[in-house]
């Protein structure tokens, strides 16, 4: 082992040039633009990313004979490379690397991250006791130590126990320790390992990891384009929470989010997991072209999956072969093909809420209610069937009593006796021509018998354009009837919707009457003779309804085609009342075979059961429609879609032959016999031979603790990405992750308890200069809290935090008017703040409106959730200072923290308590002095100006009565605010 160690040491020092580490980045930076993977940009038919080609310009062992080197310093500017016009030129040091590489034989290898993971040898070291105590407990630390040694660097001493505790709490859960946790730890009641195990099992840890995953998943609560309508995708977010809480193995986590709908025996939750692939934005802007935006959805899924699971940025290859990474445009569209099969549209014109494919996700309580309602419906249906079986006699009596009665009505405009069968396709709909004109100032009544088997359009005479001029009756997706009279949608139209749904498979007599008033109130809808309660959704009609389109049965643009049967379709030029409508219905019921129609409308014995049944069904519909949440998930089309390369990435320029879905050629493609669908992709992603998936997962976990990955470019493991300073450590952890059954919690445990992580983050200027972002790990981590953490910490320290897990997103304080200023309320109206507990939930649950992100999130560097984000920047701005100083969240938290401080006895104890609640440490003497003098000043000022105290303590929903707002409390509130604004407060260190 010692020998191995020293061999490694020799390699890492001034040894031979490493092709991947030293040479490839230089070639990529200076040569690949014109001599790289992109065939279209290639000059002189020479590619320097391919070994055979390189040998044209490189003579292994003979630098002076290698054209490559000569060109870098050529006197003739026309032969000099890179061409001077690019403004790029390799430095002398870089030229020297190339020279040495050639001298040493011009070894060639693939890009490091595309090569299989190989578990490295673990250096065996006997460490001197003392400073390096604890560094020999885990191979992780030995690998770090070894690399530090090679670099001539030494590790830093361990951080103090309180610093470590605050660090593990923040990095594992996004929350600092409570005072109780701090005391228990410092008194030795719990060990380090117990602390870490407790945190790993906590909901707070699942929430923090979910927070991180949501950035990659570009999760939000609105659809993101134009009017930015609300969507309800939180059931998927709760799936993520559950997966982290249960420590779902990472391979399963990946598979379900890529192909949960295709996994055998996956169940509802696996389908829900595919919501990951539907978190992309969806277009609802009227006038947009469907295919253009469907292609965007697919591209977003492909690019997000590549970044989240593989750490690859493939977007470049959408329009042309990738410039640097070996991903061709054909590779791109083969990968795209996996995600191209979804049964979706590109444009859901002005559609609010979730857009299909959808999954219903009832809570256990809702499932129980549904089961009870279903049982009741079955019972009532049985009762109705029994009545039907005995109805012959009653029907005969009805016929005798009514056969002489004939409807005495003026002549209809159209009367089509008999049945029309509608098969649910456009071709199977019926064209009744242009004989009946509908006008806004002319009354009419449409009557018909209807036995629907699906939702869709019943009848329409309407234009096939986005202004939708004309009239219709449609059954909405939930089978409620809706009537439109439209001059121009949506600004000049009437839309009414009935309260109760129609029943699939049952006969209904339907009458739509309109009195010509131009008002929604002028519309009556009767089902089986009884008026339906209508809700007017649009009521401003002023203009003609006339259109050249014919009257059609069973179809209308975007309403879907109806499947079912229509009988006795009739249009009258009057608004018919109850008597006339019943008379028309009777006309069918008195026939010899009119039994079903008699039962539907006239059989008095059945009326009671029918009404009860309708009520129960309506209740079930309401529960399913209004209460049971849905999530947007994946469902593939029955008919496979052919994927073709899109020239320049343009949706309307498909090119060449249909492409079979596959993974990029550089990985050798999918194995023989593998399924060419998302399930095949999912299996490939988590195969132990995949070089990227485990490395990328390990790297991201590492970054959760250190604020920086072992590969600094968390999002890019390609040739242009950063190279790891600790490649052996990355591979060791990746191999162990796979060997552990993809146990992320075990990985986190190791990192949290490692000596590397325990080091102090304090560093000399020289050390920082040598390694500004701590890539070598010669000190502990230090990073600003994330946007969520800044707020959550203030809520926790003040005692305001409500730790309820999951559920719909909530709306904490936000300055008034932000939504309205931008959208004019087009999508959702004003932002209505939550009340009670929901004001104080963790920021993970803050409502994410994509076009107007919450200022707390956006001010502190959270992404806009429009695209997959693997890494957040961390900036310092005056807006952050203003938010922390003046935002009501922090004012209210300061007041509550002050209240906590006042519960202690004596000034010093109070100040100490406040500081410990925020920083997990008490004040130094110097700090105490500053705090005491500040407190005294605040106290005397507020005593002199008690109104200021009343105002200061009046912020937020929890404010107490003005009389309780004392100057003393105000003074401590200022101190609390000062503490929350300390650099140390918003830093993990």
């Amino acid at each position: 082992m010692y020998l191995a160690l020293f061999a490694l040491v020799a390699l890492g020092g001034d040894g031979p040039v490493d092709f991947g580490r030293d040479v490839l980045p230089i070639l990529s930076e200076y040569c690949f633009d014109c001599h790289g993977p992109d065939a279209a940009a290639r000059k002189g038919d020479l590619r320097l990313d391919v070994h055979d080609d390189v040998l044209f310009v490189v003579e292994p062992g003979a630098p002076e004979e290698s054209e490559l080197l000569a060109r870098l310093v050529h006197e003739n500017p026309k032969r000099l490379m890179p061409p001077p016009s690019t403004g790029k030129a390799p430095t002398p040091a870089e030229r020297e690397v190339l020279r040495r590489w050639i001298e040493e034989g011009a070894a060639w290898a693939g890009h490091w991250s595309f090569e299989a993971v190989e578990a490295p040898l673990i250096p065996a070291m006997s460490l001197p006791s003392g400073e390096l105590t604890g560094w020999d407990q885990d191979p992780l630390d030995l690998l770090v130590l070894h690399r530090l040694g090679v670099q001539g660097m030494s590790p830093s001493p361990p951080a103090g126990p309180a610093t470590w505790l605050r660090r593990v709490h923040l990095d594992l859960t996004g929350l600092p320790p409570t005072l109780e946790q701090l005391d228990a730890f410092l008194s030795g009641e719990v060990t380090d390992a117990e602390v870490v195990d407790g945190l790993l099992a906590s909901d707070a840890r699942a929430e923090h990891r979910t927070r991180e995953w949501l950035d990659l998943a570009r999760y939000a609560d609105t659809n993101g384009y134009q009017n930015d309508f609300r969507r309800d995708q939180w059931p998927w977010r709760d799936w993520v929470l559950g997966a982290f809480a249960a420590n779902m193995p990472y391979d399963r986590f990946v598979m379900e989010q890529v192909a949960g709908d295709l996994l055998e025996g996956g169940g509802r939750d696996a389908v829900l997991a595919t919501g990951f692939q539907r978190n992309h934005r969806t277009v609802t802007e009227a006038g947009s072209i469907d295919e253009e935006w469907r292609v965007e959805n697919v591209a977003d899924r492909a690019e997000t999956s590549a970044t989240a699971f593989l750490g690859l940025t493939v977007a470049c290859a959408r329009c042309h072969d990738h410039r640097y990474d070996p991903i061709s445009q054909v590779d791109y569209y083969r990968f795209f093909g996996f995600f191209d099969q979804v049964d979706e549209k590109g444009v859901y014109s002005e559609m609010r809420g979730n857009v299909p494919p959808l999954l219903r996700v009832p809570s256990p309580e809702q499932e129980a209610r549904l089961a009870a309602l279903n049982a009741q419906i079955a019972e009532e249906e049985a009762a109705l069937a029994a009545l039907a079986a005995t109805s012959a006699e009653r029907h005969a009596a009805f016929r005798t009593a009514n056969e002489m009665v004939v409807a005495d009505l003026p002549a209809p405009l159209l009367n089509r006796r008999g049945a029309v069968r509608l098969d649910g396709t456009r071709a199977g709909s019926a064209d009744l021509g242009g004989r009946v004109d509908f006008e806004q100032d002319r009354p009419f009544t449409v009557t018909l018998w209807l036995r629907p088997e699906s939702h869709g359009a019943v009848y329409s005479r309407m234009e096939d354009s986005d202004r939708y001029r004309g009239v219709d009756l449609v059954l909405l997706e939930d089978m409620r009837p809706a009537v439109h009279l439209i001059h121009e949608w949506t600004g000049n139209a009437i839309k009414v919707v009935g309260d109760d749904p129609l029943q699939r498979g049952a006969w209904h007599h339907v009458a739509v009457a309109y009195d010509g008033s131009g008002k929604a109130a002028g519309i009556t809808v009767r089902v089986n003779g009884a008026p339906v309660r209508l809700k007017a959704e649009v009521d401003r009609l002023d203009g003609t309804l006339a259109t050249d389109e014919p009257l059609r049965l069973g179809t209308r643009r975007y309403a879907g085609e109806l499947k079912g049967e229509v009988l006795d379709f009739r249009v009258d030029g009057h608004a018919l009342g109850e008597g006339a409508v019943l008379a028309l219905a009777r006309g069918r019921a008195v026939l010899e075979d009119g039994g079903p129609f008699y039962l539907a409308v006239f059989d008095e014995e059945a009326t009671g059961v029918r009404r009860r049944l309708a009520k129960t069904r309506s209740e079930r519909e309401r529960l399913e429609r209004d209460e049971v949440p849905t999530a947007m998930v994946l469902r593939d089309r029955d008919e496979p879609r052919e994927t073709r390369l899109l020239r320049r990435g343009q949706y309307d320029h498909p090119d060449g032959e249909a492409l079979t879905p596959d993974v990029p050629g550089v990985f050798g493609g999918l194995p023989e016999g593998a399924r060419r669908d998302r399930l095949g992709l999912a299996r490939w992603l988590v195969a132990p031979t995949n070089p990227l998936t485990a490395r990328v997962a390990v790297n991201r976990t590492w970054a959760s603790f250190f604020g920086r990955g072992l590969v600094a470019t968390v999002e890019d493991f390609g040739i242009r990405g950063a190279r790891p300073e600790h490649p052996a450590l990355l591979d060791h952890l990746a191999a162990e992750l796979v060997a552990s059954g993809w146990d992320l919690r075990a990985l986190e445990r190791r990192i949290a308890l490692s000596a590397t992580y325990r080091q102090t983050s304090e560093a000399s200027a020289a050390a920082r200069e040598r390694d500004p972002d701590n890539g070598w790990l010669a000190r502990g981590p230090r990073h600003r809290l994330d946007a969520e953490g800044v707020r959550d910490q203030a809520l926790l320290a003040s005692g305001l935090l409500v730790q309820k897990v999951g559920g719909p997103s909530v709306k904490p304080y936000q300055p008034a008017g932000l939504w309205k200023e931008l959208a004019g309320g087009a999508g959702q109206g004003a932002y209505v703040e939550s009340t009670g507990d929901d004001l104080f939930r963790r920021s993970l649950y803050t409502y994410r409106k994509r076009t107007v992100p919450h200022p707390q999130l956006t001010t502190f560097d959270a992404p806009g959730f429009e695209l997959c984000t693997a890494r957040r920047p961390s900036t310092n701005t005056p807006l952050q200072a203003l938010a922390l100083l003046n935002g009501p969240t922090y004012q209210e938290a300061s007041r509550h923290l002050a209240k906590r401080m006042l519960e202690a006895e004596g000034e010093e104890a109070r100040l100490t308590l406040g500081m410990r609640a925020v920083l997990s440490r008490g004040p130094t003497d110097g700090e105490l002095k500053v705090l005491k003098s500040a407190l005294a000043r605040h106290r005397s000022e507020f005593e002199a100006d008690s109104m200021a105290a009343v105002e200061l303590l009046g912020v937020g929903a929890t404010a107490t009565s003005p009389r309780a707002r004392t100057p003393e409390w105000a003074a401590y509130t200022m101190i609390a605010s000062t503490l929350l604004n300390l650099d140390e407060a918003i830093t993990q260190r």
């Binding site: 410039r323 999002e715 242009r720 076009t851 956006t858 604004n981």
Partner: protein, 478 residues
């Protein structure tokens, strides 16, 4: 500056002196902030500033007319169309170009001439719609480009393209690029400020239009609002006056300064608190227009007295130019006239015509127009044919990306020049097309930046505002 304010600033300086381990690179004030913009880029995440060419301009004021103004009633009138009223648009003009699905189902495409007249204005003789009384009066100061071309046919992608050079979300906006490339010229105010106003009807806007994309978020635009708190959380919380805030910040800095280890991040953060404190004075000073003479207010029109109006925002833009804010982005919503165009467009013109012209004149009189670029325009043009019913009195126009006009003033753009030409139906460009990328490249050029060299490396690629496109439009430069 009041004497109280001076005391407070002196106290701030004292606080600064108390701080230990002060890093010095911020000491240079304005230039220092620019340096900060580039301070912490590591190679893998880095970028490159373009080498500064000779800059003609220092600042930009963009008057973005959101929703897309019709060219026929404004900057590209076609009086000859009056004779073709109601005639079907010849297929030879449309050439099968795609339409939005709002009109692609229309059975006819009747030509809708502008209901309003048009006159040649100024010595340059630029033909302009008669509605533009005030803009017409400054025709000789404007450089009109009639041949802008864009790609998208819907608002969201087209506006995102106009602001970021890409139809899809995720790229930095132009103001963010400028903040990144040029830094700040002002130590009390943000580098990139956004203001929003609207006529009665609105098309929504999106924060991404002034976002920083993959650039660090400090480069994103700061939205200045019309209410009491123009910048979010700018006003001190209730019960805290400026003196109390100052004293508290001094406490805070003392405490931060007591930390024994060095940390440049901490120093930067302390500096941000000082900038915030200065902004608390500078922004109200900026938005308080009580020191403006009556004659100036009258020039911008009566709306200037209403906070949040386009006129007020134009006046504030001038005040920001005086204070060296780098990029001022105005949005005026309401130009999306699918129907009722004559009435609704007249309203938009009433809101914007006078203040836009006043801004140019005001800047010129103060000697600011030479190094300030003012640019006016929307995200695309509108169709020559009527969307919906066409009558003599009323019509509408659908979206049209194949041509649209803008104007520029100041900053080295050629005054009195009309660049580019469209066909008789203002449907296609027939001479000197200018793409959004070209416009961006030219704007950057005037600011001393080479659009091919202003790059930022993200996900392994060097990104530019102009993507891989953009040609300098020399014909519009003075």
């Amino acid at each position: 500056m009041s004497s109280d304010e001076q005391d407070l600033r002196r106290s701030a300086a004292l606080g600064a002196a108390l701080r230990t381990n002060r890093r010095t690179f911020l000491g240079g004030g304005a230039a220092g902030l620019g340096a900060l913009a580039l301070g912490s880029l590591s190679p893998a995440l880095g970028g490159a500033k373009a080498p500064a060419a000779k800059a003609k301009a220092k600042r930009v004021i963009s008057l973005f007319q959101s929703g897309a103004p019709s060219q026929f009633e404004t900057l590209d009138p076609k009086p000859g169309l009056v004779d073709q009223f109601g005639q079907e648009l010849p297929e030879s003009v449309r050439k099968g170009q795609r339409l939005t699905t709002m009109t692609s189902g229309q059975s006819s495409f009747p030509i809708a001439p502008s209901k309003f007249g048009a006159t040649r204005r100024g010595e340059s003789g630029a033909l302009m719609g008669d509605l533009l009384t005030h803009t017409g009066a400054i025709a000789d100061k404007l450089c009109i480009v009639r041949s802008m071309v864009t790609e998208a046919i819907n608002h969201d992608p087209a506006m995102t393209f106009a602001q970021t050079g890409s139809q899809l979300a995720g790229r930095p906006s132009m103001g963010a690029w400028l903040s990144y490339g040029l830094g700040s010229m002002n130590e009390d105010l943000p580098t990139f400020v956004v203001m929003v106003s609207s006529s009665a009807t609105k098309q929504p806007l999106y924060a991404r239009l002034w976002g920083s994309g993959f650039l660090p978020t400090r480069h994103q635009g700061v939205k200045l609002r019309s209410g009491e708190d123009p910048v979010l959380y700018l006003a001190n919380a209730p019960g805290i006056d400026r003196a109390r805030r100052r004293a508290m910040l001094d406490d805070l800095e003392r405490l931060n300064g007591l930390r024994e280890d060095e940390d440049p991040e901490r120093d930067t953060r302390v500096e941000q608190y000082e900038l915030a404190f200065r902004m608390q004075a500078a922004v109200p000073d900026l938005t308080d227009i009580s020191d403006e003479p009556e004659a100036v207010l009258e020039r911008y029109g009566p709306d200037v007295r209403r906070p949040g109006s386009f006129a007020r925002n134009c006046l504030l833009a001038r005040r920001m130019a005086e204070r060296d804010v780098r990029f001022v982005q105005l949005f005026h919503m309401g130009w999306d006239h699918h129907g009722n165009l004559p009435k609704d467009l007249t309203k938009c013109v009433k809101d914007t015509d006078q203040p836009s012209a006043a801004l140019v004149q005001d800047l010129e009189e103060r000697g600011l127009l030479d190094d300030t670029i003012v640019v006016w325009g929307g995200e695309f043009g509108r169709t020559v044919y009527s969307q919906g019913e066409l009558t003599k009195e009323n019509y509408g126009r659908d979206h049209h990306p194949r041509c649209f006009p803008i104007w520029l003033a100041g900053g080295g753009f050629a005054p009195g020049v009309t660049h580019g030409e469209t066909c008789d139906h203002a449907y296609n460009v027939v001479r000197d097309p200018v793409s959004t990328h070209d416009l961006h490249a030219t704007l950057l050029h005037q600011l001393g930046l080479d659009h091919e060299r202003l790059t930022y490396r993200f996900q392994g690629r060097d990104f530019r505002l102009t993507d891989v496109h953009g040609e300098l439009v020399r014909g519009i430069l003075a």
